[in-house]
Symmetry: C2
Subunit: 175 residues, 2 copies
Amino acid sequence: MAAARDAAAREATDGDVPDGEATAREAWRAILALMFSGEAPGRIHAVCQAFDLTPAAMKILLVLSGGPRPMRELLETFRHDPSYLTSIVDLLERRGVARREPHPTDRRAKRVAMTEEGRRVLAQVQEMLSVPPASVQTLSPDEQKQLLRLLMRVVDAEPTIPAAMRPRPVIPPSD
Amino acid sequence: MAAARDAAAREATDGDVPDGEATAREAWRAILALMFSGEAPGRIHAVCQAFDLTPAAMKILLVLSGGPRPMRELLETFRHDPSYLTSIVDLLERRGVARREPHPTDRRAKRVAMTEEGRRVLAQVQEMLSVPPASVQTLSPDEQKQLLRLLMRVVDAEPTIPAAMRPRPVIPPSD
DNA sequence: TATTGTTATACTCTATAACTATA
DNA sequence: TATAGTTATAGAGTATAACAATA
């Protein structure tokens, strides 16, 4: 822990960061700023409240949209404590959005599957979360397309992002 | 609360969203995905642990970089409960990164100011947070510049983002 | 013996209610 | 009487330790 801090201190004091990395860093800082301070934190909070789910439970729900998952796999994905995952799945079951089912081959294990109610809730959660902050509309339609194109490339390079969370290309209206 | 859910349900079921908004929405979803599931959550957690600060305390520190702030103003900015702000400032004082000082004109009020140690810690925190996920390097240097340019425009349109969190333009090396 | 998951418990983060001091 | 901030306390959210069942 002290080691990490020392490394940071070293880099923070001498300013000769390669230029290529500097651009990526500033872009990343922009993304952090948008998530940390704009309308985002309040809205995520509001969505969780509206559906009586914790942020952790909501993220699990997003992953379950891809199909039933053994608890073991969810643990690897989220790096939670096993007992905490138990409580999250308990909550999801109480809300009726997911249920435990026996693992087909390993009788020790259980799988977690999304219910029909879960699909309905997920659709609404995603709808509420997806509303962009007004500041994005500062960009022209063309610039917005540019931004989406670049961000999709970045997201595509992140293997751990569940399919339901990935942006989809916008198809121009057919009429 | 039920009203918000109903509105979401309505939008989630009929798919005729205006195309311009659809692009902004997908771009925003990409940003959410990067923050929710990539390397980001673990790293934010790690930084807070490394400096023994809570996420809330770290955000206050970022704001204080702009100068001393009355607690009242911090409450407006973060919409926390007053008693919770008290405990956050207590923590910042215990860590030696900020201190309370009397308000110059209103003897009821107090201002919170960053210490020299606070400036050192802030520099290291920002250094650690600013490391972009590897996926950003998927983009060419030119594309990274494009991305930064677009994101800076969006961030500039968000008035509540503190100066210390805003991305800075990358100046090409002078040699 | 190792692995999957649960129970019981404790710790951290955040909010609510009642209070003190100043305006 | 209203406002700035604190204390005491309660409630979520998350982790640690000991355990039961299956492999």
